[in-house]
C-alpha cells in the first residue's frame, strides 16, 4: 500500500529521519514504536505531506506521492490524526465532521450564490453522515457541543471520526492513546478494529502503550534514531536485542556517543 524508500529528513545538521525504508501492507494495522525522538512523527509528517523530505521517495499503491501537499493526499485517501488532537474549536462537533470532505459544492463563489439548492442537498447528506459517525463512536450526545470544550480523549475520537467522513484508504494515527483513559482507549481501539474489518481501512499507529499495540497491531515496526530497527510481531520485537538496546541503552553505547 505504502512504500517508503530510503527517506531522509534533515533539520540543519539534525537527521530526524535518516534513511528509513519500510512497507505497509494493504488492510493491515501496522504499529510504529520507538523511543522518544526516534523520528516517528517526522516520518508521519513527511509521508502526509506536511514536511518535504530531504531525499527519498514515498509511493502509495504504486503511485509516487513524495512531497504532495496534504490536501491533495487527502483526495487520494491518505489521512492522518495529530499527536495533540486538533479541532476547529469554535465549531460544534457535528460541524467539525461536516468540514471534512474537501471540494464540496459550496466551496466555489459561483455555487455560493447560484447553486443554493444543490449545496443544501449535499449539506443534508453530510449532516446525516456526521450523525451516523458520531453514533458509531458512541458520542452522539456531543453533536452540538463546541469542539473546543470537549475532553482531550473525546477530541481524539472526533479526529478518528473525521477519517470516517470520507472513504479513506489509509489512516495514520499519531499517539491516538496519549492522555486518554482506559475506557475511552478501549472505545478507540474497538473503532479502529471495526473500521479495519468492516471498511477495509489500512492503519498505521504510533503508540507508546504496548498493551494497545499488542491488541491491535500486526506487524509492528520499531524505529530509533531515524532508522527502521526491526519489524515483526510485538513478541518478536520485544525479544529483539537492538530494540532493547534502543529503549534502555547500553553503557558502551552511551560512552561511544559521548566520545563522538
Amino acid at each position: 500500500m505504502i512504500v517508503v524508500d530510503d527517506l531522509h529528513k534533515h533539520f540543519g545538521g539534525f537527521h530526524a529521519v535518516d534513511g528509513a525504508s519500510l512497507e505497509i501492507a494493504q488492510g493491515s494495522i501496522t504499529g510504529l514504536i520507538g523511543p522518544n525522538g526516534a523520528g516517528k512523527t517526522t516520518l508521519f509528517n513527511v509521508i502526509a505531506g506536511v514536511l518535504k523530505p530531504t531525499s527519498g521517495r514515498v509511493s502509495m499503491a504504486g503511485e509516487e506521492i513524495t512531497g504532495l501537499p496534504p490536501h491533495e493526499l487527502f483526495h487520494k485517501g491518505l489521512l492522518r490524526t495529530f499527536q495533540i488532537a486538533h479541532e476547529f474549536s469554535s465549531m460544534t462537533c457535528r460541524e467539525n465532521l461536516m468540514m471534512v470532505p474537501g471540494d464540496q459544492l459550496g466551496e466555489t463563489l459561483w455555487n455560493t450564490w447560484f447553486g443554493r439548492k444543490r449545496i443544501a442537498d449535499q449539506e443534508r447528506a453530510l449532516r446525516a453522515k456526521a450523525d451516523e459517525v458520531l453514533e458509531f463512536l458512541t458520542v452522539e450526545h456531543l453533536a452540538d457541543h463546541k469542539a473546543g470544550q470537549i475532553s482531550g480523549g473525546q477530541k481524539k475520537l472526533l479526529e478518528l471520526g473525521r477519517t470516517m467522513m470520507v472513504d479513506a484508504r489509509i489512516v495514520f494515527l499519531d499517539e491516538v492513546g496519549a492522555g486518554v483513559n482506559r475506557t475511552l482507549l478501549n472505545t478507540i481501539g474497538d473503532a479502529i478494529i471495526r473500521l479495519n474489518k468492516e471498511r477495509g481501512y489500512t492503519f498505521v499507529v504510533i503508540e507508546h502503550d504496548m498493551d494497545f499495540i499488542g491488541r491491535l497491531c500486526n506487524p509492528v515496526i520499531c524505529m530509533a534514531e531515524g532508522k527502521v530497527l526491526a519489524e515483526g510481531t510485538l513478541a518478536e520485537i520485544k525479544a529483539n536485542e537492538h530494540v532493547i538496546e534502543a529503549y534502555l541503552g547500553t553503557g558502551l553505547k552511551n560512552k561511544d556517543k559521548v566520545g563522538a
Partner: protein, 336 residues
C-alpha cells in the same frame, strides 16, 4: 428647549460624524482582520489598497460624469464602485501571485510578511500617485444633504440645526449591508466555513481537504471589496487624497487590535470605539455645555480636551489602555 438643543448639537457634531467615520474604520478593520486571521500577517498595505480601489473608482466616476451618466441625487461614484472593486481585485490577486505566494511557499514567518507588506505599501503608494497625482481630488456629486441644517431648523423651530450629508447616510447604510453580507457569508456558506476553519487551524484544514490556495484567493477578493468600499466611502465623505489613506492605516489597525485581531465582530466594535473617542475627545464642548448649564457656570473656553492635531494619538491611547487590561482585545482575538 435648551436640553433639546444640546442633544441636537451633540448629534450634529459628534454622533453623526462619528457614525460615518466609525463605519469607514470598521470596513477597513474588517479587511485587516480577515488577512490577519487567514493569511496570518498584519497587512500594512491595506491603507494603500483602499487608496488604489478608491482611485480606480474616481477615474471611472470622472469618465461617467463626462459621458453625462449620473444616479440623480446619489453620487455617480456608486455606479463606478463595482469597477473599482474589480480593479482592486486584479491588483491584489496580482500582488499575491507575484509577491506573497513566494513567501507562503517558503513558510515565511509573519514578521517577514509584515515587512514584505510594507514594501508592497510603498509600491502601491507610488502607483496611485503616479496615476492620479498626490493632490486632493473631488469626485462627489448629487445632492449634498439628506437633511440640511436650515431645513431642520425651519421644521422644528429649534436654534440648533441637524445636518446629515448624503455621503454620511450612504456610508452607514452601505456599511450595514456589507457587514450583514459578510457575516452571512462567513457563517452560513461552505466557503465561509472553510475560511473560518483555515483561520482556526491551518493544519487540520489542509487535512480536511480544504484547498489553501482557493481560501487565500477568496480572502483577497473579499478584502479587495471591503477595502475599495471603505476607501470610496471615506473619499466621498472627506475627499480623495492618497496620503490620507496611508495615515488611515493607524486608526484602522488600532480598531482591529482593540476589537481583537482576527475577530470580525471585534473589528466593527473597534472601529466605532476609535471613531467615537477620536471625535469626542477633539470636539469643542462649549456649545453643548452652554445649553445645559446655568448661565453663571457657562464655560468661557472651548472645552476641547485635545486639539484635532492630536486625533491620531487618541487611537493609540485607547489601544494602549485596552491592551494593558485585555491583551487579546475587547472580543477575544488571536494573541498579537
Amino acid at each position: 428647549m435648551d436640553f433639546l438643543n444640546a442633544i441636537i448639537a451633540l448629534l450634529n457634531f459628534v454622533v453623526v460624524p462619528a457614525m460615518a467615520y466609525g463605519s469607514q474604520l470598521a470596513l477597513g478593520a474588517l479587511g485587516v482582520t480577515l488577512i490577519y486571521g487567514i493569511l496570518r500577517f498584519s497587512n500594512f498595505a491595506h491603507g494603500d489598497t483602499m487608496a488604489f480601489g478608491a482611485m480606480v473608482t474616481v477615474l471611472f466616476t470622472w469618465l461617467f460624469q463626462s459621458w453625462g451618466i449620473s444616479l440623480g441625487p446619489l453620487p455617480t461614484a456608486l455606479l463606478a464602485l463595482p469597477l473599482g472593486i474589480l480593479g482592486c481585485m486584479g491588483l491584489l490577486l496580482a500582488t499575491d501571485r507575484v509577491v506573497y505566494r513566494f513567501y507562503r511557499e517558503q513558510k515565511a514567518k509573519p514578521v517577514i510578511l509584515v515587512i514584505v507588506s510594507l514594501g508592497v505599501t510603498f509600491i502601491m503608494n507610488g502607483i496611485v500617485r503616479f496615476i492620479i497625482g498626490p493632490d486632493d481630488q473631488r469626485f462627489a456629486d448629487g445632492e449634498r444633504f439628506i437633511v440640511s441644517a436650515r431645513t431642520f431648523k425651519e421644521l422644528t423651530g429649534l436654534r440648533e440645526g441637524l445636518a446629515i450629508k448624503t455621503t454620511q447616510g450612504i456610508t452607514v447604510i452601505t456599511a450595514v449591508v456589507v457587514v450583514a453580507l459578510l457575516f452571512w457569508f462567513l457563517n452560513r456558506t461552505r466557503t465561509g466555513k472553510s475560511m473560518r476553519a483555515y483561520s482556526d487551524n491551518e493544519d487540520l484544514a489542509l487535512l480536511s481537504g480544504i484547498n489553501p490556495e482557493r481560501v487565500v484567493m477568496i480572502t483577497w477578493l473579499i478584502v479587495a471589496g471591503l477595502a475599495t468600499i471603505a476607501g470610496v466611502l471615506y473619499g466621498l465623505d472627506k475627499s480623495f487624497k492618497p496620503f490620507t489613506y496611508f495615515q488611515l492605516l493607524l486608526p484602522i489597525f488600532a480598531s482591529a487590535i482593540v476589537g481583537g485581531l482576527g475577530n470580525p465582530i471585534g473589528a466593527i466594535a473597534g472601529g466605532f470605539v476609535i471613531a467615537f473617542s477620536e471625535v469626542t475627545v477633539t470636539y469643542a464642548w462649549k456649545k453643548v455645555l452652554t445649553y445645559l448649564m446655568p448661565e453663571s457656570l457657562e464655560p468661557s473656553g472651548l472645552v476641547q480636551l485635545l486639539s484635532t492635531d492630536y486625533k491620531l494619538a487618541v487611537s493609540f491611547l485607547i489601544l494602549l489602555i485596552v491592551l494593558l487590561f485585555k491583551p487579546t482585545g475587547l472580543f477575544k482575538g488571536k494573541a498579537v
